[in-house]
Symmetry: C2
C-alpha cells in the first residue's frame, strides 16, 4: 500500500482523498495542519465520513517523521506550500502540492533546489488538465486539428461568497493572479506548447466586499515564443445566482480552426476538415492524483510534470509582480 499524508486542508486536498478512494492500493495515513496552524477539523470530519481513517496530528513534522509516507500532499495556507513541501522532500517524500507552488520567487527557488536534491517525484495540483473539456482540447490540438496555435483567451470567473483569512491577507494569499490565474496560465502554456516571453497585468481590490487585500478583478496579456499571444481575465464577480461556482473558459485560435471550452463543453469551428461550429464528444475526465500515484509506482506519467509545475508557478508570480509594479515583466 502506498502511504499518503496530508499537510493542510486549505486547498484541493480532496483530489488526493478522491484518488486514494478510487485507487484501492493506497492509504491516507495521516493529516496535520500546515506550518502556520490551520483548522483541519472540517476536512478531518469529511475524510472520516468518506471511509478514510487518517491519524490526526497537530504537527506535520512529527507526522512525517512517524508515518514516513511515500507521498506528502501539501495544501496548506498558500504562502506555506513551499516551506511544507521542502520539509516533506527533505524526508524523502514524493510531493503532490497545491499550485502555485510558492507565493514568492525566493520560496519557489528554495523548493526547486529541495526538489532537485531529492530525486523524488513532484506534481502541482493543475488538476483542470484532467477535466473532460480541457483534456479533449489538448488532444484535439495535439492531433493538429486546429493547425498551429496563434492566440489564446482564458477566463476564470468565481463566486466570491465569504472567504476566510487566507484569502484576505496578501502575505497568506499571494494574490488573485497566482491563485485563480494559475489554471488559466497553465492552460495557455500547456495548450500552446510555447514558452512565455513577457507579461503585462493589472488587478484591483475594489468591490471585494470587505475581503481586504483580495483582488476582485485582474487581467494579463502574455506574449509567447513564435509570436503567439494570450489574454487572461480573472474575477470574483460571478453572481451568487449563477448555476455553477466557476465559469472556466479557454478559446484557442489556430491556423486551421478554433476551439473553445465553455460551460463544460468543447466547441470546434473549422479544423482540418472544415465545418461549422460543432460540439465535440469529450474524453472522460480523470483524477490527477491517481496518475501521480502511478508515476510514483513507475507505471506512467502524470500530465503535470515537475518542470511544468515550477515553470507555471514562476510565471504566475511574475504576472502578479507586473500588476503590482505596473510594468511589463520579461519572462
Amino acid at each position: 500500500m502506498l502511504k499518503v499524508c496530508l499537510i493542510g486542508a486549505s486547498g484541493h486536498w480532496n483530489y488526493a482523498a478522491d484518488g486514494i478512494a478510487e485507487d484501492g492500493g493506497a492509504v491516507l495515513s495521516g493529516i496535520a495542519p500546515g506550518p502556520e496552524g490551520e483548522d483541519i477539523g472540517p476536512a478531518y470530519a469529511i475524510l472520516c465520513r468518506n471511509g478514510h481513517s487518517p491519524e490526526r496530528y497537530e504537527d506535520y513534522i512529527r507526522m512525517l517523521d512517524e508515518q514516513k509516507p511515500e507521498i506528502a500532499v501539501v495544501s496548506c495556507y498558500f504562502n506555506d506550500h513551499a516551506r511544507a513541501g521542502m520539509e516533506a522532500m527533505k524526508r524523502g517524500c514524493h510531493l503532490f502540492i497545491e499550485k502555485p507552488l510558492a507565493t514568492t520567487l525566493e520560496d519557489l527557488e528554495n523548493l526547486r533546489r529541495a526538489y532537485e536534491r531529492s530525486g523524488r517525484h513532484l506534481a502541482g495540483m493543475f488538476a483542470l488538465r484532467y477535466s473532460p473539456e480541457f483534456l479533449t482540447a489538448w488532444n484535439v490540438i495535439k492531433q493538429g486539428m486546429i493547425g498551429e496555435v496563434r492566440l489564446l483567451n482564458a477566463q476564470k470567473s468565481y463566486k466570491l461568497g465569504t472567504r476566510c483569512e487566507v484569502y484576505r491577507k496578501r502575505e497568506l494569499y499571494g494574490g488573485t493572479i497566482p491563485w485563480v490565474g494559475s489554471h488559466a496560465i497553465d492552460w495557455i502554456y500547456w495548450l500552446s506548447g510555447e514558452r512565455f516571453t513577457s507579461v503585462c497585468s493589472a488587478h484591483s481590490r475594489m468591490h471585494n466586499h470587505g475581503h481586504e487585500d483580495l483582488e476582485a478583478s485582474a487581467c494579463c496579456l502574455f506574449t509567447l515564443t513564435n509570436e503567439v499571444m494570450a489574454t487572461v481575465t480573472l474575477d470574483y464577480l460571478r453572481p451568487d445566482s449563477a448555476p455553477s461556482h466557476g465559469d472556466d473558459r479557454i478559446r484557442v485560435a489556430g491556423t486551421k480552426g478554433i476551439i473553445e471550452a465553455r460551460d463544460g463543453n468543447l466547441f470546434l469551428t473549422g479544423g482540418c476538415d472544415g465545418g461549422d461550429v460543432r460540439k465535440l464528444e469529450l474524453l472522460q475526465g480523470r483524477n490527477i492524483f491517481r496518475d501521480f500515484m502511478d508515476q510514483v509506482r513507475g507505471k506512467g506519467q502524470c500530465l503535470v510534470s515537475a518542470e511544468d509545475s515550477f515553470y507555471v508557478s514562476e510565471i504566475c508570480i511574475k504576472a502578479r509582480i507586473s500588476a503590482d509594479e505596473n510594468r511589463v515583466v520579461p519572462l
Copy 2:
C-alpha cells in the same frame, strides 16, 4: 432634401447608402475616389442597382465644389480618412467618416483642428453601437442592471479571405489594432463609461497568408479610470467554414451581474434581481447614418459623438504604438 456625397468606397459607405434609402429625405448626389485614387466602380454599380443615381467623379475636390453636399461620407483608403475629411470640413460639410478617423496621431490632430474650426457635425462609423445586442447591452448597463462595470473582454474575429492592397501595406492600412480593434475599443469606452489610462498590446504578422504587413493576431490590455480593466482579442483566424464573417463578442462583468454579447445574442447572469444565465430580448437595431442625418437636421443626437470618435481613434492609434514599440503607453 439633404445632399450627401461619398468620398471613397473602401470601408462602410453602405451605412450611408442604406440610411439614405431608408430616410426618404436625403439624396446621394455624388461619388468620387479618395485622395489616392481607388476603384469605385463596383460600389458605383451597386449603388445604381439599389436605386441611387449619384454623379460619378474622378476628383473628390471637384465633386465637393460642384455638388456642395451638406454631408460628406468618407470611407476611402484608411490612411486618407483624415485628409479627405479635412477637405470636406473646410468646405462646410458635415462629416460621416470611417473609423479610425486617422492612422497617425498627426493626421488625427489636424482633422480635430479642422473639425473645431468648422462648427459642423461629425460622427465616426462606430455603427456596431446600433446593433441589437450592443445597443441592448448599453441599455441594460445604463439601467444599472449589472451594477458598476469592473471588467470587460472584447473580441473581434474575422475571416481573412483575400484582401486588396489597402490591407497589405501598413502605410495604407494603419494596422489591425486600429482597423479591426476600433469597434472593440469603442465598446469598452462606451459600455464602461470610463476613460482609458494605459494600454499594453501585442500583434503578429505571422500566418497572414501572404498579406504582407497585415497583423493576423493582436491583443490589448487596457486599464481605465476607477481601476476598471479590459482585454481585447483580435484575429483574422476565423475559419472560412464558419457560419458568419465575424465573431463579435463582449463580456461586461459588473458588481451585480455579467452580460455577454455573443452570436448576435445577449446573455445576462445575475443582475439586480438575481437569476441564472438568460437570453435577453433585444432592442431593434438602427442605422447609424439615419441618426446622424437627424442630428444634422437638429432633430436628435447620434449615439456616436464627435468627441467619442476622436477619442477612440486616438486610443486605437496609441494601442498600435504599444504593440509596435513593445511598451506600455500611458493614455
